[in-house]
Symmetry: C2
Subunit: 333 residues, 2 copies
């Protein structure tokens, strides 16, 4: 393993063996509707509440990815998974039934990057043949956790994003795929003092800028090395800030940049304001769009950078700022 | 790396370079009082609220461990850390200032085991020279998060445990210590359908039994191989259940078994009922008692098994059970 100051390049890159996405009705009606493995029309996914529904989506995504990987569930050694809810209950109840050891993660909406980073290190370090990386989010459970009761019908500012109802799962292995994780840049916690919980894009953009900058500098690359540099859920507001922050450092990624939160909905028609967000946003777009585009060789090199805003209602109510974190994963065909 | 069915044995075992513990007043008055690196008398640790106090303890434990490791902060490549609070805010705000990439974890009170497992795989897999593993808990922030306002003064049943105010941190490295992590058994989520949030010991005991059983079977060991088999925070109730569950499988660990939750307080004098609990419980006992006993060669082989109960107030209020998880770490002098 070669290590840049903050980045790691895998000598034997783990491969993406399979990926799966399960989303809700609204996501199914968006521009990527045709690309998901499953669209669940029922917001409760047949369960009694939103949290259990989110667990159900995560379980289905995991099971679908494992089935598509076709290596047998017993060969998946570890699960790296997380979600947005307090104490990660969507993951605990979603993954319990699989009977595979679980490492519970919390990186807010950056969790898919965290899980891929940890999963890739585990496979590359020869500690597992196959691992599963998964995350989920659910509009209902997230609004209940972080904001207002849905019944309250509060107005959302245009800077607010819409939490994706969906789960994504990826099986990584030593071999068996065409897309490989060639390197990764772990996220530092970056705090610009943003205190507006309705403007997560602004809170996360500095962390994304930091991770992208370190990835390119550590590996001695120009932005053009990547066909795409894809952030998680910065949305319209965060995207602008990201591009400006990097321009201030003489790094122009405008041509390469894409944001999962701006791909998953038609913001104008679907009234999703600044775009999609949530752990499930980058995870489902990865499985439904990014990896397929790479497998079709439309993109050969992608820097995938899920972004997270580190807050809880407790920290927010106590007047704390909202630090951001972003984990960068280099994907190559 | 040799892999048992659920366990891994490291060919080049990572070493414990340094460890540190910072606790509150009550823990300082307990039987291990003389062993902690720092006893903070102020429940607020000079901060404005309990959550910030917990962050402060975690930060101090991390800084002390890094100082004791004497390898220079810049060589600590990753932090693996978590806590009990929703969205891991004690960790986010505690670790933000260190400027080291962070992988946020959630394994409830088993988090120290999860962080050591991930940290050890990362070092053993040649992905980092040094890493920091840390967790924390705080009586005030945990009661606020999970139970009743402290001012309410509710009666606690005798099966209830007392959340430890404290943080523990460990620096792992390729070399530089005397105690090594020779292997690990990752935790599965085990659900016996327990629904009593005031009896966490009963919820976690089946997971501890599962992990200990798999560790011994995977490595072909008898319980007597270990000088001590040390669970995290089963307390008096969970300890009995653990011993019985393993006896039912013809495995008797009574001679070796110890529980961090039963070591940190004098339950009779300190009115802590079933014992101590929280991420900080096993983490501080590891740093203050277990590792020092090993360094003095009183114990040469220890199986360290932090135990966690996977619930949130939301899952509890929705009538969900409380599954358990336990991560097993083999420590050898």
């Amino acid at each position: 393993m070669k290590q840049g100051k903050a980045s790691i390049r895998f000598e034997q890159p783990p491969e993406v063996v399979a990926a799966a996405s399960v989303v809700g009705k609204k996501e199914g009606e968006g521009p990527l509707g045709a690309c998901f493995d499953e669209i669940e029309q029922d917001p409760m996914a047949g369960q009694d509440n939103w949290e259990a529904a989110e667990s159900e989506l995560q379980k289905r995504a995991a099971e679908t990815a494992i089935r598509k990987a076709a290596v047998g569930k017993s060969r998946i050694r570890y699960i790296f998974a997380g979600d947005l809810l307090g104490q990660g209950i969507a993951t605990s109840f979603g993954m319990a039934g699989l009977g595979i050891p679980v490492f519970g993660l919390y990186g807010a909406c950056s969790t898919m990057g965290e899980s891929l980073h940890l999963g890739a290190m585990t496979v590359a370090g020869n500690c597992a043949e196959y691992v599963l990386c998964a995350t989920s989010s659910h509009f209902g459970s997230a609004e209940k956790q972080f904001r207002f009761p849905l019944e309250y019908g509060n107005q959302r500012p245009l800077s607010a994003t819409w939490t994706v109802t969906g789960a994504g799962a990826v099986v990584l292995g030593r071999q068996g795929g065409t897309v490989r994780i060639t390197g990764a840049t772990a996220g530092k916690i970056v705090d610009y003092g943003i205190k507006d919980s309705m403007n997560m894009g602004a809170a996360m953009a500095p962390a994304a800028a930091d991770t992208i900058y370190r990835n390119l500098v550590d590996f001695g690359l120009e932005p053009g090395y990547y066909d795409k540099i894809i952030t998680g859920d910065l949305g319209t507001v965060g995207k602008e800030i990201l591009l400006q922050l990097l321009k201030d450092k003489n790094m122009d990624i405008e041509k390469q940049h894409m944001d999962c939160g701006l791909e998953i909905y038609d913001n104008e028609k679907q009234d999703t304001h600044a775009g999609g967000s949530g752990c499930g946003c980058s995870a489902t777009v990865l499985a439904a769009m990014i990896l397929p585009q790479m497998e079709k060789r439309k993109w050969r090199r992608v820097l995938f950078v899920p972004t997270g805003a580190l807050l809880s209602t407790v920290s927010f109510n106590e007047g704390q700022s909202v630090p951001g974190i972003a984990h960068g994963i280099s994907l190559e065909y």
